[in-house]
Subunit: 443 residues, 2 copies
């Protein structure tokens, strides 16, 4: 790959691109304004605030000279056509949706930085040699419908769109109805788009599936505390951890809390407590990057004077290596079975989710590390424990992820925060890698 940027003669250190971080910070403010009422940012798929932000982004990107379109599920693209290679696309961006009462940075940062980077590159270097595009994925969080990665999943073929049309949100509204309501709302938007020369952006016109992605690069907040604890400014993601999720049902005998001696109980909660501690012990013994969590646990009948007859709890287990994940899950479930057996409890384990670890492209990782060294940004090569859109591209094309620190590791919360300096550092690294990918000479 070509060195970037061309070094001015006599300079001891290569210059860092003067990317206008202020433009990105202002854009982040503008995006955060599209939110349902309440603390933090709430921007759920196909809601009015979601429609507002995707229309705003189309207008903004068109104004910056990008070619804009929205596909059938609501992903928004802003493209700079390559002057030499235009049948493949260098794609960068993230998701525009949030969790309920989420933060300003999760997803939105990757979109705002990508728009700013493309604007800077176009202004500074003119059109790229290879086609370069921003994407604002419609959905990643699964917060309204149980459709995690709905945006990138439709692009990469995880979803076909149609099989999910009847799934419902918490108010019983189907995905299909929510999309249809957007189309109606879009009629107003349509007039504005037509006025802005954006006829092609109306989403009914474009299939979401893409087979023309040459590389995918995503900039994101870490949502963890590792960069802060290690005093690094940039995380170069080695791999996105694979996940297994299970629902575990432990069955005992509900009985009177006063009249059943301790020795004659089959207490489903006491048994579950033993399983949770075994899980924690095993995860600590396995060591990083393995994480294992029970986030939900329900007790039945759930009355203070009745011995629990049934407990249901979730398991969320993650690791960057498929073999380790497989071995760990098998060992934990075998231990659960043994603990249940000893207490006369029944055990039922239902797999809920299984995603494979997604290794990031080695060449792109090398390029990112080199950029960090050149820009004198302390970086850490690290595993992402959280899922990201990049994991859907990793099996299909070279994919890369760049992290910036999250203060206190807090995310999915109004308290989510990354300093302007750290946000700017991530933007500089993103811009540099996009330059390498889209402006390097075609050989």
């Amino acid at each position: 790959m070509a060195a970037y940027p061309a070094q001015p003669a006599g300079a001891m250190k290569p210059p860092v691109p003067h990317v206008p971080a202020g433009e990105m910070l202002k854009l982040l403010d503008e995006l955060a304004a599209y939110s349902a009422p309440g603390p933090g940012v709430t921007r759920l798929l196909y809601t009015p605030e979601w429609q507002g932000v995707q229309h705003f982004l189309q207008e903004r990107m068109a104004g910056l000279g990008l070619e804009v379109r929205m596909d059938q599920v609501g992903n928004v693209y802003g493209t700079l056509a390559g002057s030499q290679v235009s049948d493949k696309v260098i794609l960068t961006g993230s998701h525009i949706d949030t969790v309920v009462n989420g933060g300003r940075y999760d997803g939105a940062y990757g979109v705002a930085a990508a728009v700013t980077a493309l604007h800077y590159l176009l202004e500074t270097f003119g059109p790229p040699l290879r086609t370069l595009a921003v994407v604002s994925f419609c959905e990643e969080e699964g917060s309204r419908f149980p459709l995690t990665f709905w945006g990138s999943g439709n692009v990469t073929g995880l979803y076909s769109g149609k099989e999910c049309i009847d799934c419902t949100d918490a108010d019983g509204i189907t995905l299909g109805a929510a999309m249809a309501a957007c189309s109606l709302a879009g009629d107003e938007g349509l007039a504005a788009e037509a006025a802005a020369g954006l006829e092609q952006s109306f989403w009914r016109n474009s299939s979401p599936v893409r087979s023309d992605i040459a590389a995918y690069v995503e900039l994101h907040i870490e949502q963890g505390i590792i960069l802060e604890r290690t005093s690094r400014k940039i995380g170069v993601v080695q791999a996105i951890a694979g996940q297994r999720r299970y629902l575990v049902k432990v069955g005992g005998t509900a009985n009177h809390a006063g009249t059943t001696p301790m020795g004659l109980r089959q207490d489903a909660l006491a048994g579950s407590a033993e399983m949770l501690l075994a899980l924690e012990r095993s995860a600590l013994a396995e060591g990083d990057p393995l994480v294992a969590t029970t986030g939900r646990l329900e007790v039945y009948p759930g009355t203070s004077n009745v011995i629990p007859g049934e407990v249901q709890f979730t398991l969320d287990i993650r690791h960057s290596e498929a073999g380790v994940l497989e071995r760990f899950c098998a060992a934990v479930l075998a231990e659960f079975a043994e603990l249940g057996r000893r207490r006369g409890l029944t055990l039922e384990v239902q797999p809920l989710l299984e995603t494979a670890p997604a290794p990031m492209d080695q060449e792109l990782r090398g390029a990112l590390e080199e950029i960090c060294l050149r820009q004198e940004k302390p970086y850490l090569s690290m595993v992402s424990g959280a899922g990201h859109d990049a994991q859907l591209f990793a099996p299909r094309c070279p994919a890369a992820m760049i992290f910036v620190p999250s203060r206190g590791g807090i995310s999915h919360s109004p308290g989510e925060y990354t300093s302007p300096e750290d946000l700017a550092a991530g933007l500089e690294v993103l811009t540099a890698i996009l330059y390498r990918l889209a402006y390097a000479e075609v050989t």
Copy 2:
């Protein structure tokens, strides 16, 4: 106390009274018919089915020759006036309310047996020397309003009635409104009562407080598995266990399940699991009759991919000796504090309930054991882990409880069952002790 019954000359074994168990079993069937729809028996305070059963009992008892009245909160009495002592009452009975989808025996058995015993004693021996009465307490379970022991509590002064008038059921109906609705419903009942010569039974006319109780004897199903496991027919209750209930709040840090390494977590659920196991271990070490239970546990935010930031759980701890209960609770809560401290978790403990152990009257226990020996019924002197109306009388007058086996220890369930033979055995013991108390010569 006088031996009972007088032994026929030449008999090697004293005869068991020929109490008509069939009459009691039929009455149990009749009582079970007053139920809201659904499995088992549901008869909540002041509901139509509750009103029905209390009116039915008044009519039945009046028909058997008892003097009937209902007090202001809905307790129903059937009295046989003593021919020699009538300013004090030997009281027997239990509660007529049930839990939701409860069984046919919990409470109702003690009422049906008491009515049958008084009918038998009156028919066989005429009016008692001392006044003898059946009570059908309006409420003991706390299933509709949070007013456990509402019936016996008003009789013994635990409640004054008025301070609870605004507490509400799950539908937001106040206790006062529920009582007023009964009074209205009672107007129809009133006509029937007037026709039956029961004018005095309308509950607005009679204060529930009583200071004239000479002794209280309650027959009840065990609701536990101890009699079945030890092959005994009768339990002579030594004491009703004291209870402490607490709400424990464990505070940690909610965080992303994927991005927070195991070593950097303050997981409120893992900490709670450690506390629950410590509780179980301590209770097993203390030994019977100590029981300790967590029946309710809630996790916040309760999402599978978020480390629990807060857990709330209940503690229900019981023992028959106040000193042991005090010591055990203090030790467990100190251990919780230490476990929380080690994990960097906050701990907040809120006492919810504290009832003192209620020892049953020693003389009455001796008399009951003698009766069991004479009637050749294998009995067990035992602690009641469950609370009962008798515990409210124990500090005020001699009180006694008789248990019969519960199949499989199951109670508060449509599966609650005691065999007709075991029900009859309990009736025979109850009848014998009532004879001793009410028919023995006044000295």
